[in-house]
Amino acid sequence: MKRVAIQSGDFDMAAELAALESLGGGGVASFTGVVRGESGLIALELEHYPAMTAPQVDRIVDEALARWPLLGVSVIHRFGRLEPGARIVFVGTASRHRAAALASCAFLIDWLKSHAPFWKKEHFADGATAWVAAQAEDEAKAQGWNA
């Protein structure tokens, strides 16, 4: 099972996880990223490169499927204006082997952080805005998977 969705709307966590659990693999790992509501942030605006995002995510999901013995992978990434507490991204993996499920989940979220063509703009209560800078740490983590 392979599911890649780039969408503005929210998603149903229970349904996403149930789909992975139903594959009979024994173990399902997931990571969900949520908008933090700190420092007066009132919204996070996610812009992306539509022609590039889904094909790129699809490609990295294929790489995860080749690298680990997985029965299923789901990646959902939202775009648009998201308020604190809203889900941004979901990665779910199913495998007979818990280590494979957990490692591939970590691999995919590291890759999304450093390579998925998204950009985040913070909107603050006082009207200020700021584009989120990429973190060198994220790039290093994703590179680590190539070692």
């Binding site: 992306h48 490169y49 022609a51 999304l112 952080k113 390579h115």
Partner: protein, 84 residues
């Protein structure tokens, strides 16, 4: 013709998300294109004046800035990505 697409503060500074330009001379790299565009009036200098802050994709694939544009149909210029 070559399509250029811009994202995030590159898009905001330039004031548009897409434009079509004459195909640059054979052998032109992304960095060369950036230098040419940065010489334009308007927000181009602000958006493209410091190539170290920029990343690029050719036909929806990330490339280093020294990549030759060649027969590409679309070049995208943007800041480092912040997904996830």
């Amino acid at each position: 013709m070559l399509t250029l697409v811009y994202f995030a503060w590159v898009r905001e500074s330039i004031g548009r998300d897409e434009e079509r330009i004459e195909r640059p001379a054979p052998g032109t790299t992304v960095a060369g294109l950036i230098a040419t565009l940065a010489a334009r009036e308007g927000g181009y200098a602000e958006a493209l004046g410091d190539p170290t802050k920029l990343r690029a994709a050719i036909d929806q694939h990330f490339v280093p800035l020294d990549t030759v544009i060649g027969e590409a149909r679309e070049v995208a210029l943007f800041p480092p990505v912040t997904g996830g």
